[in-house]
């Protein structure tokens, strides 16, 4: 039986940050792909199947919001859970974004890696009553 590891796409332009997220998610038993900007993410989404996306809000070329809109417009990914990491706390209208982009969760920097792992788990393995 092939391992049923869930695949996570991490979109983060800061290498140092994406490395530590990668490390923690892999330790938690997920299969992780990392890319540095929205455009690369779109390309990866086209070739591989993912179970969840974690994206930073602030990135060059295509920021997190734009990426989300793009993803949501694609029928294949309409239900794909997206977690947004933002450092832009004071300007970001969390409620509005969560609703408009159907975000699973918004995490703000600085966050703890444990938070990330738990959020991903919560999204992918909802408690079954």
């Amino acid at each position: 039986m092939t391992s049923d590891k869930k695949k996570v796409l991490v979109v983060e332009d800061n290498r140092v940050m994406s490395d530590v997220i990668h490390f923690n998610l892999e330790r938690a038993g997920f299969d992780v792909r990392v890319c540095g900007n929205g455009r690369q993410a779109v390309e990866l989404l086209d070739c591989e199947r993912f179970d969840v996306i974690i994206t930073d809000f602030q990135m060059p070329k295509m920021n997190g919001e734009e990426l989300c809109r793009h993803v949501r417009q694609d029928v294949r990914h309409a239900d794909l859970p997206i977690l947004m990491i933002s450092a832009k706390g004071f300007e970001l209208d969390v409620a509005r974004l969560t609703e408009e982009l159907s975000l699973a969760k918004v995490l703000s920097k600085p966050f703890s890696p444990r938070e990330v792992v738990e959020s991903v788990r919560a999204v992918l393995e909802p408690v079954v009553v």
Partner: protein, 479 residues
């Protein structure tokens, strides 16, 4: 002083003489008639009773004429004045006669004349003063850099200063603003938020202030428009006073500052988040292998260093902004200074595997400079070179000692700077619009700092660059 001053009034004298003549006539008549009635044979002399009195009367008249003449003159002129209309000038003639009355008359005339002259001088003076005041106000209005206009109840311009026409110069219209509708001149109907503006302007009794952007790009021009109701002395009024000011520079400065604050928070939060994430990871996972652990610890150190450098940069910025940057100049050994600079710059070069070479002449003069600031400036130039040069590129530091100046050249084979941006690179907060630059974090203050340091030392910083080929920054200091 006339020789014949007579103190009795003319009228009295007139009467006196007249009476005398009459009496004389009477007397003569009496004598003649008595004589003739006494001597019947002298009846031939009867006509004399008529002729002689007549002669006396005639002589009396001649004598009186002189006396009457003066009165007649005065009475004539007075009668003329009475009949003349009030606004006409009084054509009064002086009377040449030594008589006191004549002298008095002439005095009146002089006084009237001088009063008239005074009155006319006064009115001309006040007219010219009002004119002066008016012209001064006009001069002030037309020298103001802000546009000022007054509109009537229909919103049409009835008064405008020169600046208004200049500020509202439309693409097509060269005609003066007077008579045109103010809202049309401001292109209000086509403005963004035209509705909210309309609402604001509906309230005619309140002041309305708003900014008008020429386009989405602030640098194309932003006007701050204020409209105030113009109230008459009795409290009523349908006119409005408009003030239009070009606030483009202010808005641009505000935007640049906002971007700066934004960048600062990002630049501070990023390393902090990283430090926290790595530290926590190390704390939570007990089974990380030693090599991996060491890497993580090093990352934490590197991020902390980055944070600390950024804080230093912020402090420098604060000094620059306050214009309070001062130099602590001491005799400095250049060799040591350059060694410090290279040590600071090496990590950045190594990280990107950049081919870094330093060409430093053997004999270096001692410089009277602020060591820390010069080091910071050179490190900034080298840091930029490393930042904006792709991996395995080339950066060269070349020191050139001249007769009375020393030059530090920092050359790179990096992304270069576009020609239209070259003059702006030393401006505070300026960051290139080039994507490759924006990808990198930066405050836009490094070069401004370096430039200021050079200037304070009596030197300069210049740049030569070619887009996509590379850049060369040269800092020149006097020896």
């Amino acid at each position: 002083m006339p020789s014949q001053v007579n103190t009795l009034s003319l009228t009295r004298r007139l009467l006196g003489r007249y009476l005398m003549c009459g009496l004389a006539c009477l007397f003569v008549c009496l004598v003649l008639s008595l004589t003739l009635s006494w001597r019947g044979d002298l009846i031939r002399l009867a006509p004399l009773t008529v002729v002689v009195p007549l002669m006396i009367l005639a002589m009396g008249g001649v004598i009186l004429r002189r006396t009457i003449w003066l009165n007649a003159q005065i009475e004539d002129q007075l009668r003329r004045i009475a009949t003349v209309s009030s606004s006409a000038e009084l054509a009064l003639q002086p009377i040449t006669d030594p008589e006191l009355a004549a002298v008095g008359w002439n005095t009146i005339l002089e006084r009237v004349a001088s009063t008239a002259t005074l009155a006319s001088i006064e009115s001309r003076l006040s007219e010219s003063l009002t004119g002066l005041k008016q012209r001064k106000f006009e001069q002030v209005l037309n020298s103001m850099p802000d546009g000022v206009a007054v509109t009537d109840a229909q919103g049409r311009v009835i008064l405008a200063n020169n600046a208004l026409a200049a500020l509202l110069k439309g693409e097509t219209d060269e005609s003066p603003p007077i008579g045109q509708c103010m809202e049309k001149l401001l292109a209000l109907p086509t403005a963004k938020d035209a509705e909210t503006l309309e609402q604001k302007l509906q309230q005619t009794s309140h002041a309305a202030v708003f900014d008008l952007k020429h386009s989405d790009d602030t640098s194309d021009g932003v006007l701050r428009v204020a409209r105030y109701p113009l109230v008459d002395q009795d409290g009523s009024g349908t006119e409005h006073l408009w003030s239009v000011r070009d606030v483009t520079q202010q808005r641009l400065a505000e935007e640049m500052r906002n971007e700066f604050v934004f960048t600062v928070t990002h630049e501070l939060r990023t390393p902090l988040s990283n430090i926290k994430a790595y530290a926590e990871t190390l704390a939570v996972h007990e089974d990380i292998d030693i090599e991996q652990q060491r890497e993580f610890y090093n990352t934490i150190v590197a991020e902390a260093t980055r944070l600390s450098r950024f804080v230093d940069e912020l402090l420098n910025v604060n000094q620059m902004e306050a214009g309070a940057m001062s130099l602590a100049q001491h005799e400095t050994d250049l060799e040591r200074l350059l060694a410090d600079v290279i040590e600071h710059a090496q990590p950045n070069m190594k990280e990107k595997r950049i081919n870094f070479e330093a060409l430093i002449p053997a004999k270096l003069p001692k410089l009277h400079v602020d060591k820390d600031k010069i080091i910071a400036s050179l490190v900034n130039l080298l840091g930029n070179a490393a930042k904006y040069t792709p991996e395995e590129g080339r950066v060269r530091l070349h020191v050139d000692v001249g007769k009375n100046q020393i030059q530090f050249h920092v050359e790179d084979s990096g992304i270069g700077i576009a020609e239209d941006e070259l003059p702006k690179v030393f401006e505070k907060f300026f960051r290139s619009a080039d994507e490759r630059v924006r990808e990198n974090p930066g405050s836009g203050l490094g070069l401004a700092f370096t430039h200021e340091v050079a200037r304070l030392h009596g030197g300069t910083v210049v740049v030569h660059s070619e887009l996509n080929k590379g850049s060369k920054f040269t800092m020149t200091l006097p020896i």
